[in-house]
């Protein structure tokens, strides 16, 4: 056996899926090496034999089978790890990296799970990078669509693709992003790791990216001068930078008529305001500033709270947390159990809480409205961060009443205004076309 084969055997001695097989081609022994878990061995061997049969010499065989011939040893190891097979001649004078038949590890293009588009294509991104990029290219067939690929991480080299339309996305931004991606010092396991790489947002609920499953959304972002990232084994397109407008508008809206689009967006804005302000308004008007209501309305509110032992703040915070728990529970549970939790949470718990006079009817209405309103925005993560932002306002409202709501709301605006991704503020509505058209 040759040196390199020995080395490989030693290196991968702990890997039971590692295989070295000998083949006889033109009276010369060659080694076929790879991982059985990544490569379909039977099909690949058949392919090699077919090529061998049609080649007149061992030299011709190597030229026919691959373009990557006689590569350095480190690259051979890398090729094995990424799912190729390598072919070595016994005297170690020739080697080749062959793109073999891969094991089928990804799923086919499927329907979107997290977003449900109305009147649009239901194709969703999958785990495989190239397929995802292919889906974009199919919809945006211009030579100006550029693709940069990066491999980042220490232990596990993770592939990241960056897509942008040349002439639309600002070259300055692309340069900065490139720098940030090439200086990655750690493994990029999750979106949070990538987020931190793009600037410190450890404690911020607002991400640098908006994730989408829908190709139409990603294409729309590319056309609107933004950058789209794909991570391998991550079935989402990451639109960078994430802007506040992403919460109210989706590309799919525009399949409807303009008037309907405007209506939908107005509804989402109302949803945002309702999520942030309604629970706080309840607490403020019931416990701190009841005198602001007209007398009959104030009496009605007091009446609905008759016999409730909890303070307005406690009542609200208990209900809000309970509802957030139910939402979280329903999401995590298998599809067959989810509806049961919904029923228990919604009907039994809600009904009995009112009948036991633990919370007022008015609060139940408020909370229901808030839950529905928070789901009206586009994107799961946006809905989640709105649900988080309502707590500080609620807290301030319980202490300062209406004043607390105002200061809380102003503080929220100021906080969101302070967020930037590579100097692009989060509160931008549209990115200007920065690049050169040509």
């Amino acid at each position: 056996m040759t040196n390199i084969v020995n080395e490989l055997t030693n290196k991968f001695s702990n890997h039971h899926d590692f295989f070295i097989e000998e083949e006889l081609i033109d009276n010369t022994i060659v080694y076929v090496i790879g991982f059985t878990t990544l490569v379909d061995v039977t099909k690949s061997k058949l392919y090699i034999q077919q090529i061998a049969a049609s080649s007149i010499s061992i030299k011709a065989f190597f030229t026919n089978i691959s373009n990557e011939l006689n590569v350095p040893d480190e690259q051979l190891i890398k090729a094995i790890l990424t799912g190729s097979i390598i072919i070595l001649s016994k005297d170690a004078t020739r080697n080749a990296v062959v793109e073999a038949f891969p094991q089928k590890l990804g799923s086919d293009i499927s329907e979107s799970k997290n977003e449900s588009p109305v009147q649009a294509s239901i194709d969703a991104f999958g785990n495989h990078l190239d397929i995802n990029v292919g889906m974009i290219r199919k919809r945006l067939n211009t030579e100006r669509l550029c693709l940069d690929s990066y491999e980042v991480g220490q232990l596990n080299k993770r592939k990241i693709y960056m897509l942008y339309v040349k002439g639309r996305a600002s070259p300055e931004l692309i340069n900065k992003v490139e720098q940030q991606l090439t200086t990655v010092q750690r493994d990029i396991e999750t979106l949070d790791d990538l987020n931190n790489q793009f600037g410190h947002r450890r404690w911020s609920p607002v991400s640098h990216f908006s994730a989408t499953e829908l190709p139409i959304q990603a294409v729309d972002a590319l056309k609107n001068n933004r950058i789209v990232f794909f991570l391998d084994q991550f079935p989402f397109a990451l639109i960078y930078p994430n802007l506040v407008g992403d919460m109210v508008s989706s590309a799919n809206d525009r399949n409807l008529t303009f008037a309907l689009t405007v209506m939908l967006r107005a509804l989402r804005i109302i949803g945002i305001l309702a999520t942030l302000l309604l629970p706080a308004l309840y607490v403020a008007l019931v416990s701190v500033n009841p005198e602001l209501f007209k007398t009959d309305l104030a009496l009605f509110v007091i009446q609905s709270r008759e016999g409730v032992p909890l303070s307005a703040f406690l009542e609200t915070i208990v209900m809000v947390i309970l509802v957030d728990l139910i939402l979280e529970g329903v999401v995590r549970l298998p599809k067959s159990v989810g509806p049961a939790v919904t029923m228990v949470g919604g009907i039994i718990l809600g009904q009995s809480m009112v009948e036991a006079e633990l919370v007022s009817n008015l609060l139940i209405i408020t909370i229901t409205a808030v839950v529905i309103a928070s789901s009206a925005v586009v994107g799961m993560q946006n809905s989640l961060y709105l649900r988080l932002l309502k707590y500080p306002i609620l807290l301030l409202a319980s202490v300062f009443g209406i004043l607390g709501i105002c200061t809380g709301f102003v503080l929220t605006i100021i906080y969101l205004a302070s967020l930037t991704s590579n100097e692009i503020p989060y509160l931008t509505f549209r990115l200007g076309q920065k690049g050169d058209e040509t």
Partner: protein, 359 residues
Amino acid sequence: MTKQLQIVAVFIIVSLSYGYLLYPSIIYSLTDTTHWLVVLSQGFIQLILVWLYIKGLKRFPQHTLLDIYSKMGKWMTLLFLFPFALNLIALITFSVRMHTETILSIFLPRTPYWSILLLLLFISAYTAIKGFDTILRSAIFIVLLILFIILLNTFSSFVNYDVYNIASDKHVSIAFLLNPKFLTLIGFSSFLFLGFITNDKPLTFPPFMIASIGVIVILLSFIYIPLLIFGHETVVTMPHPLLEATDSINIGWFVFNRQTMFLGITLIGFVILASAVMLWMIGQIMQSLLPKSKRKNSFWIIIFTTFSLIAALLLPNQAVAEKYFLWGVGIQAFFMAIIPLTIFIYGFASKRGGVKHEN
């Protein structure tokens, strides 16, 4: 990324920020009739100053006020800007205290005033530390919110109008021009922050003219809402005519009992952002005064906020706060005249070659 629209939004907020509380009373004390003439004259003087200021700043592209003063010499900065910073902190202290008392009287009669002071100053300092870009971006949203509420207030007050209350508004008198209080009015508009912004493109005057006209219209509504409701004789006896005027409004179909609540909301938006702008200016001035110290902008902002908080807590009552605030506004008026003039004259002189550039 700074846009002129955002700067104009901050300009509107800062210009209106004190208008609510004391501005109407001063106008009423200046004249019995033709109140609009007072507001217009004040607006005119302000426009001239803004024009001078922008004209002066244009001569130094990519330079802030601080750069220009440091060009003139270290002592000029010390002479003009340090007292200015002290005056700003005094203004913040008195205005926050004054607004706190007003907010307490509108919303929260039983809450201790220190908690509100703490809340308002904390948010202002937080905003100032986040930088001027944050102030600019949030200003647009806050201006939209507040203008909506001001409109709501103005239109809802229609129900109580009595046009005969201003029937005597025929006799034109310009005696107010000689009253020193009139000059104090200039201090109510704050445009000096314009010099602290570095911008790729130089500022242009027309948007500020439009904004100023808008501000004057809103100020006129502040003056005339109480006048139309109560009449001049009643209004001069009131400490806060606008508050009382809105408190008198009662609309049958509306869910809320007190329109003053909306007034309170606007007050909060104004005071937070205006104080943030001033705190940020103080931070910038301190940094340019002590360029060698490695303290960051935020250090000075925190120090001055703490100072302001303690001073505001020590003020015995609202009347004292108002008195000192008016003094502060008077001094502010002096800076509003002197800073644009020095910049303009220096710009003029350096263009003639009278002053050497230290580039």
